[in-house]
Amino acid sequence: MSQLVPIPAPTAVPARRGVISKVVHDPLGVISLVALLLIVLATVLAAVLAPQDPARSSLDDIFAPISAAHPLGGDSAGRDLLSRLLYGAQVSLLGATIALLASLVIGLPAGLIAGYYGRTFDSVSSWASNLLQALPAIIVLLALRTVFGPSIWTSMVIFGVILAPGAYRLVRATVSGVRNELYIDAALVSGLSDTRIIARHMLRVVRGPLIMHSAMVLAICINIQAGLEFLGFGDPQTASWGSMLNEGFLNIFQAPQMLFWPGLALFLTSAALALVASSLRDALQAGAAKPVRRRSVKAPPAGNGAVPSDALLSVRDLRVAYSGGSVEVVHGVSLDVAHGEVVGLVGESGSGKTQVALSVLDLLPTGGQVTSGAIALAGEPLLGRSASFLRTVRGHRIGYIPQEPLSNLDPSFRIGNQLSEVVRVHLGLSRAAARDRVLDLLARVGIPDPARTYRAFPHEISGGMAQRVLIAGAVSCDPELLIADEPTTALDVTVQADILDLLRDLQQEKGLGVLFVTHDFGVVADICDRVLVMRQGEIVEDGPAEAIFDTPQHDYTRSLLGSMLDGRPARLARVKATGDGRA
């Protein structure tokens, strides 16, 4: 028997720092990993652990019962079952490793090249891989056995080739997924050769999924090999789990333990491999959040905090937290929006401005919750109300304009359908009346050919047009309040100016109150009557727009305004001023 090739233990190469520790912290991962290590150890130490030579048979030991000399008993030829099981494990694990290596030797490089370069090689290799996958593995193995002879090792190499498409597809998909990432472009510009990029960047990405895949493949190989040997295609002279099963099957009524022990060994090994694979997958995908139902935690009861009724929207001492209340991102914000007033909520990323806006709409992302405070629309509290009540408020009384227009339209529905559905639900209009209303609205928001846009799918219109469509949707049910969350940030400057003009006109025409979330002081100066400056979950300054720009009170507002580039001289003007070529 040849030297045992060490199994590429799933933990040998950490895909990322922390994966091992994550696996170790998963009880199932630890148990299966320990089981796997014990199996490998027992296999490697078979010569030491086995009570006797696996081939030594003695007439006295035929169907021997369990005893100190034969811990698992004897078989039909008077051989020791434990010894055969231990030596058989060597055949099983070695065979599986050979098949795995064969599949990786073909699948990994082919996948890397196909995913990285694409083009002809990709087409040819994908074609070959599809063909290989279409072949029935067992029949090919049996057919090729007559060509190459009865060696189980040859069979496992062939089986590895048949499994190569699995590795190939995985690697190809992963590599082509990151092929267009900017860091690969940066590596190209840095002058890294293709081999270096593949070795440094691509292998790193592929490593984790491939290790996971390998554990599964090993389990499959062990079972297929045992199956082949069970059918009698192995070497009858060497002990193997498959041949033990075969012998056990022949004596199933006389000595059921002969079937039981190799069966148990197969079960434990494949189960350990499969569980290690699944634990690794969990560890590698730990970044992806598990699906949680939105808002599993109930909002606080209404009425803790006095709410004046004269304002259109009042928020009092609002606190928003994530992770079950442990991470607070909004620390007691109070604000009012009067009828017909445009209030700007300004701040940098992470200031909590969007969290405030989403709290009003009861649309906080998963894990977020309002922990205390009060929100009222025209004196009517919104927090803690039923979902059906909030549904009638959203859309009907509060309109919402999001930041990314195109990702807020469902790509599989025509624009007209999406808009008219809202109108029909909220206003109870007939199909024809809803259509007329939507066409009027589309014309009102400055869409040149409303009928055509009504029939269009979202991908057929530009970002600026999509934002007009969403504005039409937001005002379609004559709301009292508009909440706009960075509505122009994703747009070109010229389009932004048009959209701001439209919003201003609509606001004045309908006397809307607007809560306008933005990071851009230029936009604030253009449209807002009053400004609230937010920093780290708190409002630090609140005042009329002119006052905030003329005489900012808080240091943070001053530093924000100070970092604006608009008022500063151009580089060339600074160069000319200093006269020595320096700016």
Partner: protein
């Protein structure tokens, strides 16, 4: 007048379209631009104007269909990968999105040593150079062993700038390097770029959609519109008294952070739009 470092002449870039015998999509319709050593040329335009494509073509990341790109009197429009590797010392890039332009599974040290490897710098010398680079972009020394994902947007962009400057290039293409950053971070990163330019003499081709940003950092400004270069000149002039109708619209569309001045600005914009519409109508008759 100093010789041009980079000279682009009548550059045409076409992307193949999907479908049988489909017309290729022409992203650049014959663009000419030049950059001199140590200066910043700002490239402004809206999305789809071709400004990013021009930068990528210079870096060898977009297909050049026609025209020429000369860098230090060498034609690089159709440079092979081997020639590109040689160019890496002189021509570098800072991308827009500091979140995807750094490999999330590499440490900052790994990222910065990568370009040094190619030039065959020894391990110890590379370490010293990385420390020097971090110092230059004002990042703490312990950043070496940390992952890029542990840093904020502004800090990541500093890492990207350090990577671009590792080989002491003569030209860095900056593709919207501050667009993804917060206002206050924007200004500090721009100041860092200016400071590095003054101490190292590197030239920038600075691509941005933001007239204010371009005006702040550029000696000269070029304006792109629908795959063509429509205006090119002194940075101060182009960004305050533009001649081309598109640039005029762009200038007045940018809101001024002052309610009173912005109101006047808005009125001017409406006047300009009406005027231009009238002119178009007359031209059309």
């Amino acid at each position: 007048m100093p010789e041009s470092l980079l000279e682009v002449r009548d550059l045409i870039v076409e992307y193949p379209s999907k479908g049988f015998r489909a017309q290729p999509f022409r992203a650049l319709h014959g663009v000419s631009i030049n950059v001199k050593a140590g200066e910043t040329v700002g490239l402004v335009g809206e999305s789809g104007s071709g400004k990013t494509t021009l930068g990528r073509a210079i870096l060898g990341l977009a297909p050049v269909t026609g025209g020429s790109i000369r860098f230090e009197d060498r034609e690089i429009g159709h440079a092979s990968r081997r020639e590109r590797r040689g160019l890496a010392r002189e021509l570098q890039v800072v991308f827009q999105d500091p979140y995807t332009s750094l490999n999330p599974s590499m440490t900052v040290g790994d990222i910065l040593t990568e370009p040094l490897w190619i030039t065959g710098v020894k391990r110890q010398a590379a370490k010293a150079q990385v420390r020097e680079l971090l110092d230059k972009v004002q990042l703490p020394k312990d950043a070496v062993d940390r992952y890029a994902r542990e840093f904020s947007g502004g800090q990541r962009q500093r890492v990207a700038i350090a990577r671009a400057l590792a080989l002491r290039p003569k030209l860095v293409v900056c593709d919207e390097p501050v667009s993804a950053l917060d206002l206050s971070t924007q200004a500090t990163v721009l100041d860092l770029l200016i400071e590095l330019q003054e101490s190292l003499g590197v030239a920038y081709l600075f691509v941005s959609h933001d007239l204010g940003v371009v005006r702040y950092i550029s000696h000269r400004v070029a304006v792109m519109y629908r795959g063509e270069l429509v205006e090119d000149g002194d940075g101060d002039v182009v960004t305050s008294r533009p001649e081309h109708p598109y640039t005029q619209r762009l200038l007045l569309a940018a809101p001024i952070p002052d309610p009173i001045r912005q109101e006047a600005n808005r009125a001017n914009r409406h006047r300009l739009l009406a005027q231009q519409a009238e002119q178009d109508e007359q031209a059309g008759l």
